[in-house]
């Protein structure tokens, strides 16, 4: 019985609304006015404006207290409209609508553009006035005005305090360990199989009289993995020059090629054999992933290098290169920070440098105190992370408080 009444009522209201809509369509006055049988909602109160924090000086934050009809009272508020102008005495038509937010929201960030020509330009250091209306079905409340406020630049983004603390701690640790290293204090690092293999591999190439293939990956010079690979390349080139063997470095990006040429040349010069460097040994193939792989695969099968070294940024080509290398009978050493490609290198190559080991490789090969210093700093930060994790979790278990569930998310500072 209950349902039948409900159904009846629903049908009735549907019919009524249909009739109402039809009436609106037939009558001439603007649709907005005609649609509305309801009273306007009460306006929002206590509108405040202030400079938007952590921005480039072209933003204002507008805040207000909700209209009494927002979710309570008559519940007639649907949204809030925010308007802005330069002169508070402007007629309504000159106020520019800058945004709309749905009911229940008490704040709006008005972010403008920097260029005066553009439509949403918001001038800096200028008095701005704001209006906020509560909007109901086709009606809006009386106005609530606030201002002036000026947009200003901020010189520090307070949301980035964790990053700053991290950087400073890292810098301090690095400097400290570099100083220790300079004083001659021995900094122990455990052996890494993949890196020791590089030395052996160069020796093997010398014995076999075959070249070493060094692939820097398909990243650009903008990828930090590529940069890490350059630092290893310099040292490999130096050893190659010392052992008087040859190397091939195909590149997938012209900038990478240029830097690689300079790096290899330096390596040869460091070994005291600058004349042995051949410009054509470091060459550019093409900037696209698969053409690059096709060419390198061809090179692997034709030159049959004794050793293939793949260090840098890799994507799907990891397995294509590594399996072709197996076929050519080369010893293969790979390393990348791309977690998705590590499985293929691990399966198909003889040695794989996992993630961070790639970045550590140059320090290992060079054994220079300055480089070992940064390695130690990394380790200390890892230790700090470990200790913090255990301590905070223990604290949480004991107190049962949830305050540390996201230690870096809330701006608690």
């Amino acid at each position: 019985m209950k349902y039948i009444i409900l159904l009846f009522l629903t049908c009735l209201s549907l019919c009524l609304s249909q009739a109402l809509l039809a009436q609106t369509a037939s009558s001439d006055p603007p649709a907005e006015a005609a649609l509305v049988p309801s009273e306007p909602p009460a306006p929002p109160s206590n509108v405040r404006v202030s400079d938007l924090a952590n921005d480039d000086g072209h933003g204002i934050r507008v805040t207000w207290d909700l209209s009494p009809d927002d979710g309570a009272g008559r519940s007639s508020v649907i949204s809030y409209d925010i308007y802005r102008t330069l002169n508070p005495n402007d007629p309504d038509s000159l106020w520019k609508k800058v945004g709309t937010v749905v009911l229940g929201v008490r704040t709006y960030a008005d972010r403008g553009e920097r260029e005066p020509g553009s439509g949403s330009y918001l001038p800096k250091h200028t008095n701005l006035y704001y209006r906020v209306y509560a909007v109901g079905a086709g009606v809006r409340s009386a106005v609530a005005t606030a201002g002036p406020a000026q947009a200003t630049d901020d010189w520090f983004n307070t949301m980035k305090v964790p990053e700053l603390i991290f950087c400073l701690v890292f810098l301090v640790l690095t400097v400290r360990f570099i100083n220790m290293a300079k004083k001659g204090i021995d900094l122990y690092v455990r052996p890494l199989a993949g890196i020791e293999a590089i030395d052996e591999a160069i020796g093997r190439a010398t014995e076999m009289g075959k070249p070493i293939l060094y692939v820097l990956g398909i990243g650009t010079a903008g990828d930090i993995a590529t940069i890490a690979s350059f630092t290893v390349l310099g040292r490999v080139a130096r050893k190659v020059a010392e052992y008087q063997t040859s190397m091939i470095v195909p590149c997938c990006d012209p900038v990478v090629m240029t830097i690689a040429q300079e790096t290899v040349k330096t390596g040869y010069a460091d070994a005291g054999r600058p004349d042995a460097y051949k410009e054509d040994s470091v060459y550019y193939v093409t900037s696209q992933q698969f053409p690059f792989v096709a060419a390198v695969n061809g090179t692997i099968l034709r030159e049959k290098p004794a050793t293939n070294i793949y260090l840098g940024y890799f994507a799907a080509e990891s397995l294509l290169l590594a399996e072709t290398g197996v076929l050519a009978g080369s010893i293969q050493i790979a390393g990348t920070d791309q977690v998705s490609q590590l499985p293929f290198f691990v399966v198909a190559c003889d040695y794989t440098l996992l993630g961070e080991e790639l970045y550590a490789a140059s320090a290992y090969l060079g054994r220079e105190p300055l480089l070992l210093g940064t390695l130690k700093a990394q380790d200390y930060l890892k230790a700090i992370v470990l200790v913090c994790m255990v301590a905070l979790l223990a604290l949480r278990m004991i107190t049962g408080a949830d305050v540390i569930s996201k230690p870096f998310d809330a701006p608690w500072w």
Binding site: E113, G119, G222, Y313, A316, V339
Partner: protein, 287 residues
């Protein structure tokens, strides 16, 4: 040379041959069987999100894969784009893959055409969708779009300035779109997460090749992305959700055969290895 020695030293070209045969067989028309598909949560979430949008909402599809990954990502692109058009969403498309520019243009046009057949209306360029084209250095582009779409893309793919495209008026940056869906076969997804989500708080979902998907689950768990469609399986699931079965559903058949072949090869390899090891142990004992 004993049997297992031969097996251990098996020329890998035999592996290639057997695999090729067993992938071709199920595709041939006279082999008939079907595979059941049940969509997983992370795929369903993307579908539900798009279904929950209102007509006229903006959504950005970044189709950052190249022709090499067509097989896995095309089905998602087609199903999803058709879903967006059918929901009358305003769709902004672009690509951050150098070799994808023309391909994506074709997808966008194709789906608009097929929409006319299946849904009775044709979405119009500039009003219902816009294709921005390709620009190199994806990380920089993603950062640029966070400030204003016009910084990296002063014009769309066809050379029309953004301000003279009706649907782009007043659309400034990520704040104006409900979500970004990134279809990718490379590191562009990383940049969307690092530059788009972390720097600008973009609501992000990813569709990617099977190989990549596993590595992006941490971002799913940490709520940095709200859904993941992984590989052919995910694509088949999305097709199923959209009730739009296509190439992904078909291809699942060959998958089953190929997997069986590979597993059998792994088992044979291990058997040979253990037989060989026992043999060596025995010979050592007898010596």
């Amino acid at each position: 040379m004993t049997f297992h020695d031969k097996l251990l030293a098996l020329d890998r070209r035999w592996v290639f041959l057997v695999l090729a045969i067993f992938v071709i067989l199920p595709i041939l028309p006279f082999v008939k069987f079907s595979v059941p598909v049940t969509p997983v949560k992370e795929v369903r979430e993307i579908y539900d999100f798009i279904e929950g949008l209102k007509p006229g909402d903006y959504i950005l599809l970044s189709l950052d894969y190249d022709p090499g990954s067509m097989a896995e990502l095309h089905p998602v692109a087609y199903a999803m784009l058709e879903q967006c058009y059918a929901k009358k969403l305003k769709v902004i498309t672009l690509t951050l893959s150098a070799t994808g520019a023309q391909m994506v243009e074709e997808i966008v046009r194709d789906v608009a055409d097929s929409c006319k057949i299946y849904h009775g209306f044709k979405p119009e360029r500039g009003i219902d969708y816009v294709y921005l084209g390709y620009k190199p250095y994806p990380g920089i582009i993603i950062l640029g779009m966070g400030m204003n779409f016009r910084i990296p893309f002063p014009q769309d793919y066809y050379g029309t300035t953004l301000d003279s495209i009706p649907m782009m008026r007043g659309i400034k940056n990520y704040d104006n779109v409900k979500a970004v869906i990134n279809l990718s076969a490379g590191n562009v997804s990383d940049m969307w997460v690092a530059d788009g989500n972390a720097r600008y708080g973009v609501k992000l979902a990813l569709a990617m090749t099977g190989v990549m998907a596993a590595d992006y689950y941490p971002y799913y768990q940490s709520k940095q992305v709200f859904g993941i469609i992984g590989g052919m399986k995910g694509a088949a699931e999305y097709e199923k959700l959209c009730k739009n079965p296509g190439s992904a559903t078909d291809a699942m058949k060959a998958q089953v055969f190929a997997h069986v072949v590979i597993i059998i090869f792994i088992i044979i390899g291990n058997l040979a290895y253990f037989l060989g090891r026992r043999k060596t142990a025995q010979t050592q004992e007898s010596e």
